[in-house]
C-alpha cells in the first residue's frame, strides 16, 4: 500500500501521522531536533534555512497554543508565516477545504500546517496538493497529532535515553485523543517494550490492545513501577455525561496525585500535552512538582516542529541525494 507520507525513495514528504513512519525517519526528526534546541539559546534565535519559503498555518479548529508553537518554529527557520483561522466564515459560504488550500497555493504557500476537527483531514488535503507542497498535520479529529507525539518521545529521550528499557503509562481519555494515538505509535515504533493505557472502559477505543498496548482500568495497578507517566487532557464536554459521571469522580479514580505518583518508579517523569485541567486529570502539586517535565515539553515542541519543517522543506520529489 502506497504510504502518502513518503516519497517513493522513502524520504519524508508530509507529516500526517506517526503510524506508517519507519523508525529511521522518527530518529532523523528527533536527532535533527537536538540540533535545533540550542538555536533558541543564541543571541540570534534564527537560522536561515527556510528563507523565502512561506508556511501557512491553516486552522479549521481553533488552537492558539499549537498555532503559536508552529509560528515560532517557522519564524525561527526564517520562513514567512501566514496564519488563518478558517472557523466557519468562508467555509459556510460553500467554500470547501480544498478551495481554501488551492487559493493559498496560488499565493505560493510552500507548506501547510493543518488542524481540523475531522479525522483524516490532513490525509485528505495531502492527497490533493501538488507534488511540491508539504503538509504537516497539527491535529486531525481523534486521529493524529504527530508533532505532539514526537515532542513527547523527544522529552522522554532527554530524561530516559534508553527507550528500550522503559515502562510507559498513558492515562486518561484515550478514545478521543489524537495525542494518545500518536504517543502509542511513536513509543512502540521506537522500541519501548511496555506501553500501558489506563482509563475507564468508556474512554478506550475498541480493540485498543491491537495498537500494542496493555490495558489497565485500575490506575494504581497501572502506575506500578512505570518510568514515564503521560497524562491526557479531559475535554470539558466529556466531564459529565454518558462517558463519566463527574469531574470529581474522575479525579478521584484517574487523576494523578502525589499519593498515586509514588506507585511509579521514584525517578518517574510526568508529561502532559497541555492545557491542563488542574484538579481534574492532574493535581497542581504534581503538575508543578519535581517529577513534572511539562514545561520542557513546550520548549522541545518548538525544536521538534523546526526539525519537521526543515526536513520537509528540504525534501525533493526525485530524492537526488548522493
Amino acid at each position: 500500500m502506497h504510504n502518502p507520507q513518503l516519497y517513493s525513495d522513502g524520504q519524508l514528504r508530509h507529516l500526517l501521522s506517526i503510524e506508517g513512519l519507519p523508525k529511521k525517519i522518527l530518529n532523523q526528526i528527533l536527532d535533527t531536533a537536538e540540533s535545533f534546541v540550542g538555536v533558541a539559546e543564541r543571541e540570534v534565535k534564527k537560522v536561515p534555512l527556510l528563507r523565502g519559503k512561506t508556511v501557512c498555518n491553516l486552522f479549521f479548529e481553533n488552537s492558539t497554543r499549537t498555532r503559536t508553537t508552529f509560528e515560532i518554529a517557522a519564524k525561527r527557520l526564517s520562513a514567512d508565516v501566514i496564519s488563518l483561522n478558517v472557523n466557519t466564515s468562508s467555509q459556510s459560504k460553500g467554500e470547501t477545504i480544498l478551495d481554501t488550500v488551492d487559493n493559498l497555493i496560488a499565493m505560493h504557500a510552500d507548506m501547510f500546517v493543518v488542524r481540523h476537527a475531522q479525522s483524516g483531514a490532513a490525509h485528505f488535503i495531502a492527497k490533493h496538493v501538488p507534488e511540491h507542497i508539504h503538509i504537516i498535520n497539527a491535529g486531525d479529529g481523534r486521529h493524529s497529532h504527530p508533532t505532539q507525539g514526537l515532542l513527547d518521545v523527544f522529552t522522554i529521550r532527554k530524561y530516559k535515553p534508553d527507550l528500550h528499557n522503559l515502562r510507559v503509562a498513558i492515562v486518561g481519555d484515550i478514545l478521543h485523543s489524537r495525542v494518545a494515538r500518536s504517543e502509542i505509535h511513536a513509543l512502540t515504533t521506537l522500541g519501548v517494550p511496555e506501553v500501558r493505557v489506563i482509563a475507564p472502559k468508556t474512554l478506550l477505543p475498541a480493540e485498543v490492545e491491537k495498537l500494542g498496548v496493555h490495558v489497565y482500568h485500575d490506575m494504581r495497578a497501572g502506575l506500578k513501577d512505570v518510568d514515564v507517566i503521560m497524562m491526557l487532557r479531559l475535554q470539558n464536554e466529556r466531564m459529565s455525561g454518558a462517558m463519566l459521571p463527574s469531574a470529581q469522580e474522575y479525579f478521584k479514580t484517574y487523576g494523578l496525585t502525589q499519593e498515586k505518583l509514588i506507585l511509579a518508579k521514584p525517578d518517574a517523569i510526568v508529561l502532559h500535552p497541555g492545557p491542563m485541567n488542574r484538579g481534574v486529570e492532574i493535581d497542581s502539586g504534581v503538575a508543578d512538582g519535581q517529577q513534572s517535565v511539562i514545561l520542557p515539553q513546550v520548549t522541545y515542541g518548538i525544536a521538534i516542529r523546526m526539525a519537521v519543517m526543515a526536513i520537509l522543506a528540504g525534501g525533493q520529489p526525485s530524492g537526488n541525494q548522493s
Binding site: 540540533s35 540550542g38 548522493s322
Partner: protein, 186 residues
C-alpha cells in the same frame, strides 16, 4: 572511483605544521571553532599537539555544524546525521580561529561565518585549514594552511579518521553524475 592514494599528503605531518603556525596566533582572547566533521577532528588534534608545549585547558573552543546555513539546502535538503553546534563561550569580542580540514569553494566558510554571527559579534575571524585544495568560488580564502594544492574540480580530497584514530586523506574522482552535487557541497 579511486585514484592512486600513495601520492596523498600525510595528514598527521600537516597537523604538526599547522600547530606550529597556529601557536603564535593564540592570545588571551582567542577561541577555536572546528567545522563538523573534519574541522573538529583537526581542532582536537591541534589541541592535543599544543598541550605538549603550552597550557591548552584555558583555550576556549567549540564546534559548528553548518547544515542549517548551507546555500545548497534548497537543492539537497537536510542530510541526516547533523550534529548540534556547540559554542559554550560568549562569541562577543572574541578572536575566533575557524578550523576546516580541506578548503575548497569557500561556501562552507561562508555558512560557518553566518552561523557564528548568530551567536554574537566576534572581534575577528581567522580561517585556518589543513589543505587548500584550490577552487574557491567566493572571495574567501584561508589565512593559514599547512599545504596548498591545485586539484581538478573532478577530484574530491577528503579527510578521514582511520581505524587507529590517526587522520588520513582519500582522493576520489567524481563521476559526471555526482560531480555537481559534491562540488556544491565540499
Amino acid at each position: 572511483m579511486t585514484t592512486d592514494q600513495s601520492q596523498l599528503p600525510d595528514a598527521e605531518a600537516l597537523i604538526n605544521i599547522l600547530a606550529d603556525k597556529l601557536q603564535p596566533l593564540l592570545q588571551k582572547n582567542t577561541a577555536l571553532v572546528g567545522i563538523q566533521s573534519g574541522g573538529v577532528w583537526v581542532m582536537q588534534r591541534l589541541l592535543a599537539k599544543l598541550a605538549k608545549t603550552m597550557a591548552t585547558h584555558t583555550i576556549e573552543h567549540g564546534t559548528l555544524d553548518v547544515s542549517f546555513y548551507r546555500d545548497d539546502y534548497a537543492k539537497r535538503g537536510l542530510k541526516p546525521g547533523n550534529q548540534p553546534s556547540q559554542i559554550a563561550f560568549d562569541v562577543e569580542n572574541k578572536h575566533i580561529i575557524l578550523i576546516d580540514d580541506v578548503f575548497f569553494t569557500g561556501r562552507t566558510t561562508r555558512a560557518a561565518m553566518n552561523e557564528l554571527f548568530d551567536y554574537g559579534r566576534p572581534a575577528s575571524i581567522t580561517l585556518i585549514a589543513l589543505v587548500n585544495r584550490g577552487g574557491r568560488e567566493l572571495p574567501i580564502s584561508p589565512q593559514i594552511t599547512a599545504m596548498d594544492l591545485s586539484l581538478k574540480p573532478t577530484e574530491n580530497l577528503q579527510l578521514i579518521q582511520l581505524a587507529d584514530g590517526q587522520l588520513g586523506f582519500t582522493l576520489k574522482l567524481l563521476t559526471p553524475s555526482n560531480h555537481q552535487a559534491v562540488s556544491k557541497h565540499a
